[in-house]
């Protein structure tokens, strides 16, 4: 099933390229089919608490002589992220259905879009570290092309900057993976990139620290966290709308996923040493990001920085090493993906109507687009963390969790709630309120656009009122992660806990 999902995406991408006239339909079909597949496995799993085994697992030979295999496996957490990826991917296809910016070479656009979705999906499935890295980098290529071919004015600079940052940081992770592989091989004689195998590696504290640093560098850049966010505003602003949504909504989440799935379980001891610094980075990110967002005069940049600010919550949540915070982080991953996609889609729709994203050119749009304004309001409110919407539960749990361990930092981070409100209201008020800057009769939301936004709105409310589904689905993962915070547990024992809970059934 997992390979099916990937194959459908990759083959669908090729088909889009070959049959450009039908690319929108092919893309819809491919992603939609996958979505159905994924939901059909995820939904039941969210009902019942799982016993720590994978829901689906597949393994094929890849580079047997190196101990690398195509090992794909998903649990509730990965499946959740996959469902999310496919959902936003599908909506991304729909929102750019009539987008003039991608009218040229549309088939090729959908090829990249589908491969991007495929890469992200692969990241959430890979249980072989080399394969993980492979998908990790694979995501970059279509993203790079999406930006550099269909991007905005500054697309060249933006795409290259994005690629350089993520590539450099990724290489550090590769080094860490290789070192782990070799160390494990030298200790046990078994050279393997397999996640379950490598979990048991015992490392000296300093070595574990270096390796963790390698992993974290990749994740913090991709997320991005302070001070590695320099690529973000350019890449987010310049990419086409569907790309921006996937970039901000999902690609950043792969980093959070990587931390939860790989960085923390692989180096539980070192994580404790890193946690205070990471928390500091997270909190600085929250506040600094909010400050930058507030200062922007371009709507897309503003949203980009708001995303950066929210990523600070994720860093804070992960490294507070608390159960509540883990749940919060996962919810934030989902909720933020939805809300930021909604905001970027919104910018895309506005851009199609007024051909720019400068805030000074906007104002009073409520008069001509009350429906769009209403929908925009939902996402603005999600962004500022209004209860009832998914982001609130997530941020509440993150902060409540972080508070258990770090009162001071949490209080500082909570200031981000105020700051978040300040910049979020700018979106609503500068765009839809105020004096009418230009007449846009008949500019209100179109049916297809409405469908897309309605899906997001429904999901974000669903998350706000029924987060239990998600909490239940990721429960085993959170339970695993919880062990990390149990410092009393000796290293070896802790490893066994992970190994037992994540070791797969025999293949």
């Amino acid at each position: 099933m997992l390979t099916d999902i990937l194959t459908i995406l990759f083959v669908g991408g090729l088909l889009c390229w070959l049959i450009p006239g039908w690319s929108r339909w092919i893309a819809t079909l491919a992603v939609g089919l996958d979505l159905v597949l994924a939901i059909s496995r995820w939904w039941p799993s969210a009902h019942t608490a799982m016993t720590g085994k994978w829901i689906v697992e597949e393994q094929y030979a890849w580079m047997p002589s190196m101990g690398a295999s195509i090992h794909l496996a998903v649990d509730g957490f990965s499946l959740l992220m996959i469902v999310l990826t496919l959902l936003i991917g599908l909506l991304g296809v729909w929102i750019s259905w009539h987008d003039q910016a991608i009218a040229e070479k549309r088939g090729f656009f959908h090829f990249h879009l589908l491969w991007l979705i495929g890469g992200i999906t692969g990241v959430f499935m890979a249980m072989d570290l080399l394969l993980f890295y492979f998908f990790w980098e694979l995501m970059l290529i279509p993203m790079f092309f999406l930006i550099s071919i269909w991007g905005g004015e500054q697309r060249k600079k933006a795409s290259i900057k994005f690629f350089l940052f993520t590539q450099l940081s990724g290489l550090f992770m590769l080094i860490a993976i290789l070192a782990l592989y070799i160390l494990h091989g030298q200790q046990t004689g078994q050279y393997s990139f397999d996640y379950a195998v490598l979990l048991g590696t015992s490392l000296s504290p300093s070595l574990a620290g270096w390796l963790l640093a390698g992993f974290l560098l990749a994740f913090l850049v991709k997320l991005p966290a302070f001070p590695f966010h320099s690529w973000l505003p350019d890449a987010y602003t310049q990419s086409p709308i569907a790309g921006a949504a996937l970039l901000a909504g999902l690609m950043s989440k792969t980093a959070a996923y990587g931390m939860l799935r790989f960085a923390l379980p692989l180096f539980p001891q070192a994580v404790h040493a890193f946690a205070p610094w990471m928390i500091a980075l997270g909190v600085i990110g929250i506040l600094y990001g909010a400050k930058l967002a507030y200062a922007q005069t371009d709507l897309k940049r503003l949203i980009a920085f708001s995303s950066f600010s929210h990523m600070g919550f994720i860093v804070l949540g992960i490294f507070s090493l608390q159960e509540l915070a883990y749940d919060g982080v996962i919810l934030e991953m989902v909720a933020h993906a939805i809300s930021i996609s909604g905001l970027f889609f919104l910018v895309g729709m506005l851009r199609q109507r007024i051909q720019q994203t400068n805030l000074d050119a906007m104002g009073g749009f409520w008069e001509y687009m009350p429906r769009m304004g209403g929908i925009a309001m939902v996402f603005v409110l999600a962004s500022l963390g209004l209860p009832g919407l998914g982001n609130f539960i997530a941020e509440f749990l993150i902060l409540a969790g972080a508070y258990q361990a770090h009162v001071g930092w949490t209080v500082l981070a909570s200031l981000g709630l105020i700051a978040g409100m300040i910049y979020s209201l700018v979106i609503l008020q500068k765009v839809f309120h105020g004096k009418t800057r230009q007449a846009l009769p008949g500019a209100d939301i179109k049916p297809l656009e409405f469908l897309v936004m309605a899906c997001l709105v429904v999901v974000i409310f669903w998350l706000g009122f029924f987060p239990q589904r998600v909490v239940q689905a990721v429960d085993p993962v959170v339970k695993q992660l919880k062990q990390i915070s149990l410092q009393e547990l000796p290293a070896q024992q802790a490893h066994q806990v992970f190994a037992q809970s994540s070791i797969s059934t025999n293949i």
Binding site: A61, W62, M63, P64, S65, M66, K105, F108, L130, Y133, F134, E137, L138, L140, I141, F144, F145, S148, I149, R155, K156, S159, I160, F163, L164, Q167, L168, L171, F172, L174, I175, L178, A179, Y181, I182
Partner: protein, 475 residues
């Protein structure tokens, strides 16, 4: 010693020598580009096919050793030469000059390279090197009406001659110190006289000579000039076969005499300098061929990382890397050859603006090549770099590994610059010629494309192959 089986072991080289002579005769009978071209390709294929008849590891009079490494590299060289042969046809068919002799030189240069990879003795090495070099002089300056080609030829000739002299002087000193010219003999002797001043001095000079051929910093300055001046197929040859074969000999040499600690330091310095300076030089380069030249400097630096890492892992890595690098470079220069219009190459990056919008397939191939050179997944270059990193980490060469990472990111910048250029929308109408001889070239591109991807996604087979070959050599 000299018995029946030696003949099959040297079949490829024999076939190439005979083919060169026959080629000459063909031209004497009637100048026909197509015939000579086809003959060259066929003889390369024949030589390739004859590889299968090689019985096993065997030494030939101490001069040559036909082992797994040698056979594999010979095969690689022949295939590469085959591709270069294909790319030469459209390139030279537009030329008004006599073009048939180029194929003689190509065959001879290939012969030199294929001899070098099985050389186990300084005499045979020297001979093969000279066969290679002298043919290359001709190939570089082949378009004799072109000032740049001639200039490149003269520069290469003078520098190669000087470096040959340095190399020879170094070999001489080593000979004086050990009384041996065979690598295994020197290796045996070197164990007893490792600190002999003359020996070390000689080794240093040999290193400089080899470094020149490999275009390692600080012997790299000729590279961009020669690449950009020479006809594109020749540049491909210089970038791939000539470097690959010398690299193999370098490996054999140091496998015999052992990697002295001081030597390792020298190599580390050279590798670091090559990686960094190569990439720095390419950073703002606007001429695609020069850019590829600088990139090749950096790539040889990466190879030296594998070299320093040593051992089976290092050799595996180096060979895989060479394969990936060959494919990428071949594709790049092949494209340049293909897009050459009546002898005028498209050199500047801006000449390629908007290639995607006109010839998407070519643009995608070139982008893929750039990504492969940059070592991005999905491409062979990624597995190559991954392998080299693995070797580096395994041997705990942290400095090299870190420099590799940093410099490869510097490198990524200019590769992406090329890619972005291909995809940017042109301000004015651009025209990219459709060569009338597109079928064979197109097929070649397709094969390269598939190889790039296939090795990037499923390198398992090749890795196993290489490992077997390498173990065969040691076996």
């Amino acid at each position: 010693m000299w018995h029946q089986q030696v003949i099959p072991a040297l079949f490829p080289q024999i076939i190439l020598s005979v083919a060169a002579v026959v080629c000459m005769l063909l031209i004497a009978v009637k100048r026909n580009h197509a015939v000579v071209h086809l003959f060259t390709l066929l003889s390369l294929l024949l030589a390739l096919g004859s590889l299968g008849r090689i019985p096993g590891v065997m030494g030939v009079d101490g001069l040559f050793v036909v082992d797994g490494l040698g056979v594999f590299m010979t095969g690689l060289i022949l295939i590469t030469a085959f591709f270069i042969g294909i790319f030469s046809y459209p390139y030279f068919s537009q030329s008004v000059l006599e073009r048939e002799e180029y194929y003689i030189l190509l065959l001879l240069a290939t012969l030199g390279a294929s001899l070098m990879v099985i050389s186990n003795h300084f005499i045979s090495f020297f001979l093969s090197l000279e066969i290679l070099s002298v043919s290359l002089y001709g190939m570089i300056a082949y378009t004799k009406t072109s000032t740049v080609a001639t200039e490149a030829g003269v520069k290469y000739l003078m520098l190669a001659a000087v470096s040959s002299a340095i190399l020879l002087f170094g070999i001489g000193l080593m000979y004086v110190a050990t009384g041996q010219l065979g690598l295994s003999g020197i290796g045996r002797q070197a164990v007893y006289t490792p600190t002999s001043g003359w020996f070390t001095a000689g080794l240093g000079l040999v290193l400089a000579g080899l470094g020149f051929k490999l275009a390692l910093v600080p012997f790299h300055l000729w590279t961009p000039d020669v690449y950009s001046g020479a006809p594109a197929p020749t540049s491909a040859f210089v970038a791939t076969i000539s470097k690959g074969s010398v690299f193999v000999f370098l490996w054999r040499l140091f496998d015999s005499i052992g990697r002295d600690e001081r030597m390792v330091i020298i190599f580390v310095v050279i590798a670091v300098a090559s990686m960094l300076i190569g990439n720095w030089l390419a950073l703002k380069q606007q001429n695609l061929k020069r850019l590829l030249a600088y990139s090749s400097i950096a790539h040889l630096g990466y190879l030296i990382v594998a070299f320093v890492a040593a051992g089976d892992r290092g050799l595996d890595a180096a060979i895989f890397y060479l394969v990936a690098y060959f494919i990428s470079m071949l594709g790049a220069f092949g494209l340049i050859s293909y897009l050459t219009e009546s002898g005028k190459e498209k050199l500047l990056l801006q000449d390629y603006t908007g290639l995607f919008w006109q010839r998407p397939a070519l643009a995608i191939l070139l982008s893929l090549i750039m990504l492969s050179l940059a070592g991005i997944p999905l491409t062979a270059g990624f597995i190559g770099k991954f392998y080299v990193l693995l070797a580096g980490v395994y041997s705990a060469q942290w400095l090299l590994v870190m420099v590799l990472i940093l410099s490869s990111v510097i490198g990524l910048f200019y590769y992406l610059r090329v890619v972005v250029q291909l995809f940017s929308r042109p301000d004015h109408a651009v025209y990219f010629p459709r060569s009338p001889y597109a079928i064979s070239t197109g097929m070649a591109f397709l094969v390269l494309f598939i190889l790039l991807i296939w090795l990037g996604i499923a390198p398992g087979n090749l890795i196993t192959q290489i490992q077997q070959v390498v173990h065969l050599a040691r076996g």
